[in-house]
């Protein structure tokens, strides 16, 4: 039973993506939305199974490793699967009504979105390094295609930059897989975990380094973030939401998994190693936030905010000796995923309604589109880490872990980062709350937008806030089966 659950999570999106492709440009929404509902159900069932009987593993089709493919699901992977489906369903409903109005942008959205989700689900369920490479590449290529699908030369340039960055990242990863296989003759994470120790030969250290750099490029950690803002800021709103909320989390998850799993022996022996991603993360927070505060276009602002928010994820690495840091990381992944999807969706509504995407053109938005501004504000509250929100809990856990280990610098970075986030969030809100007399000659005109768009943005924003009131189940799920 549980076997089927995991496999179907990968197969279902592949099936509806293929059908959507065959159905022709712009079609497939009616298939995708129920299928995504079904996927959500499957994940919930899987979560139930895992919390009852612990981590599970299975050999697909009865072929075990090394020639077959092994899948595995533990608390960490189920949590990421859950995040993916929870965001994907409202996003699909949003996208359906978004692309109805403006068809050419969404011609290839549905098949690509399906392949992307199949890749993500596959990645979270994979148990060996090579299979992870394949899914990582599938996710990357689908994401690039989604960015390019908008069709303008601006998007194409962004997509190509993204493509080369992601290929470079996965290329490093692939070389590292080759080195690991050469050293140990296996790519199964479970087998590797006990054999890689601090006394490992140089090639293994090299492989670890290659993976670290490759995945940092793919997660757009400062200073490898250059590709992210144009790609995420340039794509259409549903695509931006998908990329910012979910895609970058995949490579982060992989890095975390490797750090705690196969490479635990190395990372534990080199205690200072964790400070490398953490330092870069801190720089990302400052750099991304400052760029977001200066950004003129609203989607660029949100994209730079993603650069900053990803920084928080990397602050946990020096603290991973305590369970709290892992919890903080997952909570931050959820907080950012939900809030960022909501924020891009709200931005999509604002851009549709005003016909422009400059922050300055938002005056009066709070009057005309109160629901959307409220959604944006709620998502902003999460990103800023103010209570009650998942972002606040993430911050609480992170600071607590940092203080507990005497890492005051991290606590300070988190707090300052929160204030900077408030800077860019309230820049938008401030503009939105400006009252423009309706009779003024230069009063902006607001086009009507489908209410579905507004409500879906609000739904995700509310989810990000409400998770801040109930994080127990999620944290218990993450603790299950341990990540190590």
């Amino acid at each position: 039973m549980m076997i089927d659950l995991a496999v179907w999570l990968i197969l279902l999106p592949l099936i509806w993506a293929s059908l959507a492709f065959m159905a022709g440009p712009g079609r497939g929404a009616r298939l995708a939305i129920p299928a995504l509902g079904l996927q959500l159900l499957l994940v919930l069932l899987l979560a139930g199974t895992v919390s009852e009987s612990g981590a599970i593993g299975l050999a697909v089709g009865g072929w075990g490793a090394p020639l077959g493919i092994d899948l595995a699901a533990d608390g960490l992977s189920v949590a990421m699967l859950l995040l993916t489906q929870v965001i994907a369903l409202p996003l699909a409903i949003y996208a359906r009504s978004y692309f109805q109005v403006k068809a050419p942008e969404g011609r290839y959205f549905w098949p690509l979105c399906g392949f992307l989700l199949a890749g993500l689900n596959g990645l979270y369920l994979s148990a060996d390094l090579f299979n992870l490479y394949v899914t990582l590449e599938l996710v990357g290529l689908a994401a690039v295609a989604l960015v390019a699908a908008d069709g303008g030369s601006r998007q194409l340039v962004a997509a190509l930059r993204y493509l080369f960055a992601t290929l470079l990242g996965s290329g490093s990863y692939l070389l590292a897989v080759a080195l690991i296989y050469a050293a140990y003759g296996t790519v199964s994470m479970a087998t590797l975990a006990p054999v890689i120790t601090a006394e490992a030969p140089f090639v293994v250290w090299l492989a670890g380094g290659l993976m670290l750099v490759g995945l940092m490029i793919k997660t757009a950690l400062f200073p490898f973030h250059f590709w992210l803002p144009p790609a995420h800021g340039g794509a259409s709103a549903p695509v931006s939401a998908l990329l910012s909320a979910l895609v970058v989390k995949a490579s982060f998850y992989l890095l975390l998994r490797l750090w705690l799993g196969p490479f635990a022996g190395l990372t534990a022996s080199a205690g200072l190693l964790g400070w490398l991603p953490a330092t870069l993360g801190a720089l990302a927070i400052f750099w991304g936030s400052c760029q977001a505060i200066r950004a003129q276009r609203i989607k660029m602002l949100i994209a730079y905010s993603t650069v900053a928010q990803l920084g928080y994820l990397f602050l946990i690495f020096p603290l991973l000796t305590s369970e709290a840091a892992l919890r903080a990381g997952i909570m931050q992944a959820f907080a950012h995923g939900l809030a960022k999807a909501a924020m891009f969706m709200a931005a999509g509504v604002l851009i549709k309604a005003t016909g422009q995407d400059r922050v300055d053109s938002l005056a009066g938005a709070a009057q005309q589109l109160p629901l959307t501004m409220f959604a944006f504000g709620l998502a902003g509250v999460t990103l800023t880490g103010l209570p009650p929100s998942a972002g606040f809990l993430a911050k609480w856990l992170l600071i607590e872990a940092a203080i507990g280990q005497g890492a005051w610098s991290i606590a300070v970075v988190v707090l300052v980062g929160g204030l900077l986030a408030a800077g860019y969030v309230f820049r938008v809100l401030r503009q939105g709350f400006l009252l423009v007399p309706a009779i003024a000659a230069d009063a902006p005109s607001f086009h009507p937008v489908p209410r579905t768009l507004e409500w879906m943005a609000l739904l995700l924003a509310a989810a990000s806030a409400l998770l801040g009131l109930r994080g127990v189940e999620l944290m218990e799920l993450v603790a299950l089966g341990g990540a190590a």
Binding site: P388, W396, L419
Partner: protein
């Protein structure tokens, strides 16, 4: 869930739910919105009366709820919390009435009242918080829900005021947060308890007094921003751009009181008054409060803008509460606690009156108030009573606060504090009496700056604008005269002090 667990939640829900529904109502549905507002306000009052009776009888109202493993949201209704809750609930009702009159026909009323209700919900959460984690959640929620109120007018000036407000409060919040987490990390919890929770910790010897002092500094700075302690007060005069009901609510009840209330909780129920005294934390706090009292009064003296003058007066008056807390001994505590209520009643009266002047005649400055007493006698009467109360004139609520504070200072051997209080009273007189004098005895101008509402019989302005200040002015007198009744703020403050100091309280 038992009834005693559900009651705190019901108190929150009585303003949260109407607030959320109001957000969705179209602006034109004045009747339905008003009905919802009043329903919520009265329900809350009833619930609080039930709680008052219960707590007086020794009942426990406790609600625990796990947010994260090892991290609980805790609501607890105790005497101290109820003091703040009763004040908020009563003044919420009056301010709502006032706001309905004030905002008639202005845009975005549903948004205004929605956030207004959220604001009160946050205040209730602060009052009922059973640990610092819960306190912080509602403390920040208060910041978030007041921001849209401060910038409600949507002008550039409002936005700038709102931005200053946010910069101060969010930075304060960040400091508070780090203090709370540090404490939580050391103790494993941050529950409020009578006589504090820190004393055992130091006894184990694991933590140095220096660390505890550092945490104290972080916590007090964090809540001190909202309590507008000098030099953290810069936001308050800027926030005066808000509509009058917001100023009334912010300055008399919600924001500054939340800060002062936080200081009380931290000193009494986290550190414990005796432990705080042994760490030598109280004297610096008293000095800061004294500086704030004098500084606020001095600045108020030089303001021509009426609301700004009131704002600086607030800065000064709120620190009376802090001073009372910092005076080691039950008398000072009682003085501080009772001033929490008294200052609220008096200051909200003043802001209601200022709003009336502005809304009726377009008067915003002290220099424009010549002869206004003849045009608006009732408003001016209310203003005068409240101003006299602020000075500490006999038969007003302010006198009671001042007597207990002075006695407290004497008992604590801090005679300099008595001088501070007397100086402040003189300064209060110096900036309030000329206003009263001017409005009563000066000749009225030929035309008011902008007369929005004309006189109708003896009703000098709209009903809903006139009623609330009269009620609160009357309350100023009633609480000042009937101090000995069982449910007066003073009696309740004595009840609280008894719990903090044991049965030795006079």
């Amino acid at each position: 869930m038992t009834l005693n667990e559900a009651l705190p939640l019901a108190v929150l829900a009585s303003s949260l739910l109407p607030g959320l529904v109001i957000f969705l109502l179209p602006d034109a549905w004045t009747g339905k919105r008003t009905a919802l507002n009043l329903l919520g306000a009265f329900t809350k009052l009833v619930l609080i009366v039930i709680l008052l009776v219960g707590v007086h009888g020794g009942a426990d109202y406790d609600f625990h709820y796990a947010v994260l493993p090892g991290l609980d949201l805790v609501f607890k209704v105790d005497a101290l919390g109820l003091l703040f809750m009763s004040l908020s609930a009563i003044l919420w009702l009056l301010t709502t009435l006032y706001a309905i009159g004030y905002l008639e026909e202005s845009p975005q009323r549903s948004r205004f009242f929605g956030f207004f209700s959220l604001c009160v919900t946050a205040t209730m959460g602060i009052a009922m918080a059973g640990n610092l984690f819960t306190f912080f959640i509602f403390y920040e929620l208060l910041t978030l829900s007041t921001f849209p109120l401060v910038v409600h007018r949507g002008t550039d000036k409002a936005m700038n005021g709102g931005t200053v407000y946010l910069v101060y409060t969010l930075t304060g919040g960040a400091l508070l947060l780090i203090g709370i987490i540090w404490l939580h990390q050391l103790l494993g919890h941050s529950d409020f308890a009578h006589a504090g929770i820190m004393a055992d910790l130091e006894a184990t010897g694991a933590i140095s007094g220096g660390q505890l002092k550092m945490i104290f500094l972080l916590l007090i700075t964090g809540v001190g921003v909202k309590a507008a302690i000098v030099p953290l007060h810069g936001w308050l005069p800027q926030a005066m751009v808000a509509p009058a009901p917001v100023s009334a609510l912010l300055h008399a009840v919600a924001v500054v009181k939340a800060g002062a209330f936080g200081i009380i909780r931290i000193v009494y129920e986290i550190y414990g008054i005796e432990f705080a005294q042994s760490l030598e934390l109280l004297l610096p706090l008293a000095v800061v409060a004294a500086v704030t009292i004098i500084w606020g009064s001095l600045k108020a003296f030089f303001q021509d803008d009426l609301k700004k003058r009131l704002a600086f007066s607030t800065i000064s008056q709120v620190s009376y509460i802090v001073l009372g807390v910092a005076l080691f001994g039950p008398l000072g505590t009682i003085g501080g606690l009772v001033h929490l209520v008294h200052q609220g009643i008096m200051k909200i009266t003043l802001f209601f009156c200022a709003g009336n002047y502005a809304e009726t005649l377009g008067i915003h400055k002290v220099s424009e108030m010549n002869g206004v007493g003849r045009r608006m006698p009732l408003t001016t009467l209310a203003f005068t009573i409240a101003a006299l109360g602020m000075m500490g004139a006999p038969f007003t609520a302010g006198a009671i606060s001042k007597i207990w504070l002075i006695e407290g200072a004497r008992a604590a051997d801090m005679d300099w504090a008595i001088w501070v209080l007397w100086t402040s009273s003189l300064l209060n007189a110096a900036y309030f009496l000329p206003i009263v004098w001017r409005s009563v005895f000066f000749r009225a101008p030929l035309a008011w700056p902008a007369e929005h509402l004309s006189r109708y019989g003896w009703r000098e302005t709209a009903w809903l604008l006139l009623l609330p200040p009269l009620v609160t002015a009357a309350a100023t007198l009633v609480t000042g005269i009937f101090v000995t009744s069982a449910f007066s703020p003073l009696a309740w403050a004595q009840f609280i002090a008894q719990q903090e100091y044991g049965p030795l309280v006079p």
